[in-house]
């Protein structure tokens, strides 16, 4: 297709109408509000904007948001892989039920998960009480944030890895085995490399989701400034204090981050396809 020209790829009529609607819809719902945010943030003088972005409290919230999201995504990469493996490779009673439950964090309002977690992990809660005896406190600590993000991020990893695992055909493992590879070698050299791009995608998705997560965290984190305050919560706090400039600055920063994450996800997927030799001219 020549660059810069719009070509109707299908003989079906209505291309102009649907394309126009798409453009309008995307503008109204996505581009317009985002543009408003960017404009609002850019109205702040650059020095002031920088000050708002690197203020001590904001920095602490970045550390928590990014750190906890990265840690939770890493935990999910490992356990999500195990879950996906057992769902794909084994048949056991209740497999379909388990497969459905994986999606629960997707479907549940995040506030509900947050309250549920807070109830279970609070010092008087069912799990919190027992953990307190062992000297571990989950609720109202950074650990609580990580726990909430593990819950939210799990389906992203499982759903990304599952189809990739299905793709690892039995023949590939048989081939590796007949060539002299033991179980560990088959896993390390065949299964893991084949699944790796999907795993990376899952990790990035879980990480991106973790940075922006709000509802499930605020009940369990305790929201102590400098300690357990996540960036989205800080935005809310600033709004409540009528600090619109501060809120817009942080919002601008989160938007930029999201954009970078999107690019990263695309890059990871492209890398995965190139790795398997797909998308390369034959």
């Amino acid at each position: 297709m020549p660059r810069g020209r719009i070509v109707a790829p299908s003989p079906l009529p209505g291309f102009g109408l649907t394309f126009g609607f798409t453009a309008f819809f995307l503008s109204a719902v996505i581009l317009l509000p985002l543009a408003a945010l960017v404009i609002r943030a850019l109205e702040i003088p650059p020095g002031e904007l920088l000050r708002l972005l690197v203020d001590e409290r904001a920095l602490a919230s970045y550390r928590l948001s990014f750190g906890a999201a990265a840690l939770a995504a890493a935990i999910n990469a490992v356990f999500g892989f195990v879950v996906a493996w057992s769902l794909v490779r084994y048949d056991f009673p209740g497999r379909r039920l388990l497969d459905t439950i994986i999606d629960l964090p997707f479907a549940l309002p995040t506030a509900v998960s947050g309250i549920a977690l807070a109830t279970v992990f609070s010092p008087s809660g069912w799990l919190g009480e027992r953990l307190a005896l062992a000297g571990v406190q989950v609720a109202y600590t950074r650990l609580g944030v990580v726990v909430a993000l593990v819950l939210i991020g799990l389906p992203f990893v499982v759903r990304a890895v599952q189809p990739a695992l299905v793709e690892v055909h039995r023949d590939l493992e048989d081939a590796a085995e007949s060539l002299g590879a033991g179980g560990f070698n088959v896993f390390r050299r065949i299964i893991l490399p084949t699944v790796l791009p999907a795993l990376a995608t899952g990790f990035t998705l879980a990480f991106a989701r973790g940075i922006g997560e709000y509802g499930s965290i605020i009940f369990i984190s305790g929201n102590l400034p400098f300690e357990t305050e996540i960036t989205p919560l800080l935005i809310v706090t600033r709004l409540e204090q009528f600090d619109y400039a501060g809120a817009a600055a942080l919002g601008f920063f989160m938007l930029a981050t999201s954009f970078v994450m999107l690019l990263a996800i695309n890059a990871v997927q492209g890398w995965g396809q190139r790795r398997l030799g797909l998308g390369v001219a034959r």
Binding site: D171, D174, S178, L179, G180, A181, G182, R189, G277, R282
Partner: protein
């Protein structure tokens, strides 16, 4: 022997998919396992590679028993139908995989890779990814990968199945050349007979889990031993023939009193001669018919001749394509020069004769249900046992409800129950040596107990083999001796049994498991039959004395009825 299989059995959900397969493959030999899909050949191949665990039997590679050895330590090369290349690795990495897991150093790996790429004529393709190669190239890489660790055995599972015809041909030659160059013992699995003919030193035909026949391609084609192989390898007309003395004729003997032996004759289409007048002298006349179809096929012409049942021969296979109640189609083919010399047209009446006729050594040519009562005859006819067996054996069932002077030329089938033993004995005394006795509504058995008489003659084993080939059931060759047999004679009892097994293997290419028991014959036999609810008995009788008659009555007149195949071979008849 490079590869030796001994009674290899693999079951899925208690059904044997590979059933007592024994086979030996010599150094540097290429054996093709041929058969329809679902015949168990791929499972057998995987069992040899160790990718499938077997339930019974032994696999040896170069004299080493590897039955309990893991796939990775068996030193075989395996090539899959869909290549199974590692897609995240380059051609070089794929080929070097086996060397890498063996921790070979870099320089040696590189040297070996160069060597292999040269062998498969894909030099300078090292850094390509599998997705950048064509199907044929991918399969060649897969072959190189399978050979990298210098395996002693190469196993190929339908390696050309996913390729188009032209590439297939080319790859066949490449693989055959490599196999000859390396002198590596190879098994190739395919369902394509052209492929088998083009590549094989020997062909083994597998069907329903059993290895039916093994032999050189020309031998299997010219002298098949079973109907299945006769019709699976190339086209064949199977006809019922009647041998009276040394004379072979295709008309059913009109006089029932003449004891003619019924046989199954194989006539290949290219051995059929069609003439408008009398046949060329020296050829066997088969019958006459009307040319129904003429098909030009390049070098040859394919013809179909409609033959009537009334006037001419009876096909051994009743429900062939184009057959109706009164007539059937005979396949013939002619070369171009023949066609030019004697042109034929559709609708023309021709005399059919055969240049070469091969008699199948199968002892079961057809079944004749004998019952006084037409309803019982119909019930026997429709029983799953008989209808399935006849369909699988591609053989004919006829019914007889009137009294005759002699047993029918085919195998008599009687209903079990009161009076069965008298009827069976009458048939055995009047011109037949085998009788099948079925309970009405009998199902195919899942276990077959084979109990020969004192002498397990070749004829008895032949009948047993013929039956067993068509029933995918567990089978056991039983030897029962008196419980008072002194210990020093027991060894010779075992020898007799193993000799019978060896004879079945050599003469009929059928492998049987053996069991030797000491005790009361009737009790031990009952115990063996009761192992499985659905079992049948193949019983050999040398003499028809009082004890045998009583035993027979117990077995076929109730109270527990099961299919029984009786084979009477009087001592010294072999």
């Amino acid at each position: 022997m490079s590869i030796a299989l001994d009674q290899v059995t693999k079951r899925y959900q208690s059904l044997p998919v590979v059933n007592d397969v024994s086979l030996e493959i010599g150094d540097g030999e290429l054996l093709v396992l041929l058969g329809p899909s679902g015949g168990g050949k791929s499972t057998l191949l995987r069992a040899i590679a160790g990718l499938v665990e077997i339930d019974h039997g032994r696999v040896s590679l170069h004299g080493r028993d590897v039955t309990a050895v893991a796939a990775r330590d068996r030193g075989v090369g395996f090539v899959f139908q869909h290549y199974a290349l590692f897609r995240h690795m380059s051609v070089a990495e794929n080929i070097e995989f086996a060397l890498r897991v063996r921790r070979m150093n870099r320089a040696d790996r590189l040297a070996r890779r160069r060597e292999l790429l040269k062998l498969i004529a894909l030099e300078d393709m090292d850094e390509r990814m599998p997705a950048q190669l064509s199907g044929g190239q991918q399969q060649r890489v897969a072959v190189a990968r399978a050979l990298a660790h210098r395996p002693e055995v190469l196993l190929l599972d339908e390696p050309f199945g996913a390729l188009d015809a032209k590439i297939r041909e080319e790859l066949r030659r490449t693989i055959r050349r490599i196999q000859r160059e390396l002198g590596i013992s190879t098994i190739l699995v395919t369902h394509d007979q052209d492929e088998a003919f083009a590549m094989a030193d020997r062909i083994g035909v597998m069907h329903q889990g059993r290895l039916l026949e093994v032999g050189s391609p020309d031998d299997l084609y010219a002298r098949p031993r079973t109907r299945f192989v006769a019709t699976f390898l190339g086209a064949a007309n199977l006809l019922l023939g009647y041998r009276c003395g040394n004379e072979l004729q295709f008309e059913r003997p009109a006089d029932e009193a003449v004891t003619a032996r019924e046989i199954v004759a194989v006539i290949r289409p290219e051995e059929v001669e069609l003439t408008s007048g009398e046949p060329t002298s020296g050829l066997t006349r088969v019958g006459s018919g009307v040319v129904e179809e003429l098909q030009f096929a390049g070098a040859t012409e394919r013809l179909r001749v409609r033959m009537t049942l009334e006037a001419g021969p009876i096909p051994a296979t009743p429900d062939r394509e184009g057959a109706d109640g009164n007539s059937w189609l005979l396949d013939a083919s002619r070369t171009f020069p023949e066609q030019r010399a004697r042109p034929l047209a559709t609708g023309q009446r021709v005399t059919v004769s055969a240049r070469r006729i091969h008699n199948l050594p199968t002892p079961i040519s057809s079944f004749t249900v004998i019952a006084r009562d037409a309803a019982v005859a119909a019930a026997l006819n429709d029983s799953p046992f008989l209808s399935t067996l006849a369909a699988r054996m591609q053989t004919r069932i006829t019914t007889r409800t009137t009294r005759t002077a002699s047993a029918p030329p085919g195998m008599p089938v009687l209903a079990a129950g009161p009076g069965a033993s008298a009827a069976a004995l009458w048939n055995l005394a009047h011109g037949t040596s085998q009788v099948l006795i079925l309970p009405v509504g009998a199902e195919l058995p899942s276990r077959i107990v084979v109990l020969p008489g004192a002498e397990a003659g070749v004829e008895f084993l032949g009948v047993a083999a013929s039956l067993l080939r068509h029933i995918p059931a567990e089978s056991v060759l039983l030897g029962i001796h008196d419980g008072t047999t002194p210990a020093r004679e027991r060894a010779s009892c075992l020898r007799i049994l193993l000799e019978a097994r060896a004879r079945a293997q050599v003469e009929h290419q059928l492998d049987l498991r053996t069991e030797l028991r000491f005790g009361d014959l009737d009790e031990e036999l009952a115990r063996q039959l009761d192992v499985d609810l659905s079992s049948m008995l193949v019983l050999g009788l040398d003499t028809l004395g009082k004890a045998e008659t009583a035993r027979l009555a117990g077995l076929i007149e109730g109270p527990r009825l099961r299919p029984v195949l009786l084979v009477h071979s009087p001592a010294g008849s072999d």
